[in-house]
Symmetry: C2
Subunit: 311 residues, 2 copies
């Protein structure tokens, strides 16, 4: 049996993954797409944004492992073979990376860092009263592994924090709202909204005009989940009409973001190139190899997702 690494247009990164996997187990037969060896021998795929239909070619495929925390790029394929397990990455270093990115972005919002950088270019000395942690409530949409880590750290930093999740969970350590009914109260409390939910048919386009209108005045939106959560024109309209004070976007429907896209030059949008939580092959390879061995020996896989739920 073999493992196929599928990363269209990212040959160098695919080779780095192969090196890290081989270091842990030199016996694994690894191919890098589009080279796949004998298709019948491929039983596991490690994948990031494959071409739809691709996985139908491997009749003995048993597991598709996402390279990241999200699996939307796998489940969006209408021609996924049935009865194939899908797994995601759950990694403390990715959570730490996400925590650092969101804390940094919230603090930059409080201090108007973007504005100071602009003023530095113009050589202008203009001290501004900062927004302070004790006057700001951060709303975390999505309280999974990443969301909960972010929520707890912000709370520790002195921010008020509220969370929102799809279904009720017992004993959350932050004030949590859930379901459609809880969304309105959650939004009304969130001076800063952080989107950290999985992308599913239900959550696609959830960051839209109707949602922005329910946030308090001067609210700020941070999207570190998926570009497809956001209705782009609604964001631009909300910024231009003053409903929102700004946004920081790390994810986009098409990445890299097109040079002609209006987000690049909007004075109240900060764009970063999908860096909030980078998957580091060295840290993640062990769980991929572990699942490879579990699959081979018929034991239950780690971090499988429910395709119907979408995460």
């Amino acid at each position: 049996m073999t493992l196929l690494i599928v990363m269209p247009d990212k040959t160098k990164q695919a080779e780095s993954w192969a090196r890290h996997l081989r270091k842990l187990d030199p016996e694994i037969g690894i191919h890098i797409w589009p080279e796949a060896g004998t298709p019948e021998e491929v039983e596991m795929a490690l994948s990031w944004r494959h071409r739809p239909g691709e996985f139908l070619k491997y009749e003995n495929l048993k597991c598709i492992a996402s390279m990241g925390a999200g699996v939307d790029h796998i489940l969006c394929d209408p021609n996924l073979p049935p009865n194939v397990a899908v797994t995601r990455v759950v990694d403390p270093s990715m959570a730490q990376s996400m925590v650092e990115y969101v804390v940094m972005t919230v603090l930059n919002h409080c201090r108007q860092t973007h504005e100071y950088y602009r003023e530095q270019r113009r050589k202008e000395w203009k001290p501004k009263i900062p927004r302070t942690a004790d006057n700001l409530c951060v709303g975390i949409m999505g309280l999974g592994h990443l969301g909960m880590n972010v929520a707890l750290r912000l709370k520790q930093m002195g921010f008020s924090v509220v969370g929102w999740r799809r279904t009720e969970a017992a004993a959350d350590s932050v004030t949590t709202f859930h379901g459609r009914e809880g969304l309105r109260s959650f939004l009304a409390a969130s001076n800063v909204l952080v989107c950290l939910i999985p992308l599913t048919p239900e959550t696609r386009g959830i960051l839209n005009r109707e949602l922005f209108d329910q946030l308090p005045a001067d609210a700020f939106v941070i999207n570190v989940a998926r570009g497809e959560h956001l209705v782009e024109d609604d964001l631009l309209a909300a910024l231009d009409s003053g409903v929102l004070s700004g946004a920081c976007l790390d994810v986009f429907c098409r990445e890299p973001l097109d040079p002609g896209h209006p987000f690049w030059s909007h004075p109240r949008i900060v764009v970063t190139p999908h860096i909030s939580s980078l998957t580091q092959p060295a840290r993640v390879a062990p769980q991929i190899v572990e699942n490879y061995h579990r699959m081979k020996t018929g034991r239950p896989l780690l971090h499988t997702v429910d395709p119907d739920r979408g995460y």
Copy 2:
């Protein structure tokens, strides 16, 4: 007896202080410099960057209260009346503000935020591997009220932290070096150096070439103490020769920073207009009023400094 607010060129801010003090005790006779009422009646001054020699005019002056955490702007006056107590501000909200500024600045250094902002202007998508907390040691020079708060928070965020102080102290909760002998080991460990020491004749110009040379490769310097700690030409030389990777400066010898100053346009210097820890009159007024009453009734004052030590 009266209280004199001395803030040359900052009339609006002086009036805000007067309002906050009066709100707490309408009985206090308050004057705003240069108007001082009857000079013999002035027993307390609340001061920020007075004109040297000014305080000799008030023969019954008993206490000069700094508006900030530092008292260098008072003690640098060679014509200070003898036997006058000097006090400083010790305030949790200032510590919180300093913590937020330093954490934000360290995270922005890790993620190269400044570089991403520049690339956004050029519409360039260039993800970079971040420096991570677990690979970075932050060195805090000065472990007073502000320094210790900053150190503990950074440690909580996952950074390695070392501290340096003038004299040995018992049971620090971070690894601490002290004195001249400890400085070399402290610097050798500090990938990011945060200057938070008081300005005294001993520490003036401490951020100089000799010190920069003892930092690890690629080090970053954050100065949130006083502009006079830094030898400006040494910083520029260290940046240009690659000894340092960058610097973030919030304080300067002359503020506002002159529009012709090379710091504004240096690609690896971030300039902010002395905002790391703003004194908020509403929060600080209670300790000023408390000291006014202590002085009137002959009780020991809060937060006095040792003029010989300089803090």
